[in-house]
Point group: C2
């Protein structure tokens, strides 16, 4: 084995990021992606008792190799409950707690906060977080943000996940758009535009429950252009999320995101007084799962 | 005409509190309820062009009398858009802006905030707010709270609605319970118990989007008794709402509520440092609509 950017390079294996609704699989050789596939075979799409057959299918397509999986496949709704490693969680502790289904199939455990005053859980995100530091894409002491349905903010210390907070930012946006009274107003595309910035600004002065209703009032009174409300609500939610986490001016946030989410969070973090550094989340996952695989042997 | 608790007493009439999903009608004589009925013929249940027939039905049951209506019947989805009176809104200004459909049928306008930095709307609640003061049930200068789907907090000055804020507290609880990931955890009855108070306390230390996700984490980690999560979420939302509005210790809030909502808001207001005084919302509506009716002539 040889070292590449601090990540030991070992024999080829299959890595699977297996979520609730989607699945992404990689054949990894020398800490690089040699082949990949993505589909909607999330754990909810797998019939009871069907995980072994799914893994056989992955091997048929990607190679007869050891398989290392992360994400909701390790939850009590997945193949096997892989448990949680408590914070502060090092990559070594995560690798030592792997759930081994047989000699060549293993599942990464989640990470939890189980402190006297707070509880939190993650499952799947820990690979990216630990991998970002392992690959040198983020410093060993940093605030990392992973936008998504359940947005994670992780405090990294000495390369370990020292503490983290989950916010239901993405889920809340989807709920409001699909089901709330203001959902009828939430037309138009969301981007980091003036309406989004207006939302980020507004949430500094008002609590979320009243700021959200104001979207309805502004529409009824004809104060907002049609098509601007969805971006404004996105700004309220992401702004509220960022303002709660950025506690000092100039605070650097390493952002594991790309595309629209990277643009939105960069804008909100900047307005909230912080400074965003975008990190390649895909490269972080590959680095993290490779490092965990190497530590297992 | 004679005066009763500051409310002029006039000829009998029919008052209708006509909301989106429910309708309540009263025959009012001498500022007292002589007969009442309640049904689910909210505006969404009335077919296009069907409002006149509905009013004829009310008159057949309650008497051939003038009809004064308030609520969503005066919205652009109701019978006739009765517009909004801007804050500060006196009861005289509301009565002067009544939408008269004919000599004996009128709809109370809503009230709005249309300030440079804020927008808000109410429709129906103004009758209770102005009526509470008109009947002497609340002081002319007071903070009034009307819990509900879209909770109203009104600042009354000299008996007028000087300013108000709407929070989507009730709608958010219903959305989360029915549709969110944490909805699966939200079992059990809600009351002003230990779990509710825990939620009210918790929202002082955490932003709402992360405090809500913690309900999921606490369940996954087995930290909360089954059946306690719904009350905790209710405490988070109502606590967040009350904390945003109670700005000084000992602040008195006149609470237009009864039953469970009165218990929940009284507990949350108290924990947030305020003092709740429960006001009869039914009596406030009757006093308000009677005073408006008298001012119309």
């Amino acid at each position: 084995m040889r070292s590449l950017r601090g990540v030991l390079v070992s024999a080829p294996f299959i890595a699977v990021d297996w979520g609730t609704t989607n699945r992404r699989a990689y054949r990894i050789e020398d800490a690089r992606v040699a082949a990949t596939e993505r589909d909607d075979m999330g754990i909810l799409a797998v019939p009871a008792g069907g995980f072994a057959a799914e893994v056989a299918g992955l091997r048929a397509r990607l190679g007869q190799l050891p398989v290392v999986m992360a994400g909701m496949v390790g939850s009590n709704r997945g193949w096997h409950d892989a448990g949680y490693v408590p914070c502060a969680a090092t990559i070594e502790a995560v690798a030592a707690a792997m759930a081994r289904l047989d000699d060549d199939v293993a599942i990464v455990p989640g990470v939890c906060v189980d402190a006297p005053t707070r509880a939190d859980v993650m499952r799947g995100e820990e690979v990216q977080l630990l991998g970002a530091v392992a690959a040198g894409l983020a410093p060993a002491d940093a605030l990392l943000c992973q936008p998504g349905t359940h947005n994670k903010w992780a405090v990294m210390k000495d390369g370990a996940i020292a503490d983290f907070t989950t916010a239901m930012t993405g889920e809340m946006f989807a709920l409001l758009k699909a089901r709330a009274l203001i959902g009828a107003e939430m037309t138009g595309e969301v981007d980091a535009d003036a309406a989004f910035r207006e939302g980020v600004e507004a949430c500094a002065d008002a609590d979320l429950l009243s700021a959200l209703f104001e979207v309805r009032a502004a529409s009824v009174l004809g104060r907002r252009p049609p098509g601007a409300a969805a971006a404004c609500v996105s700004g309220l939610l992401i702004g509220s999320d960022c303002r709660a986490r950025i506690t000092r001016p100039g605070q650097v946030v390493h952002l594991l995101a790309d595309g629209l989410l990277a643009r939105l969070y960069t804008a909100a973090i900047t307005i909230a007084g912080g400074q965003a550094v975008v990190v390649d989340s895909h490269a972080s996952f590959v680095a993290g799962i490779t490092r965990i695989r190497n530590l297992m042997s």
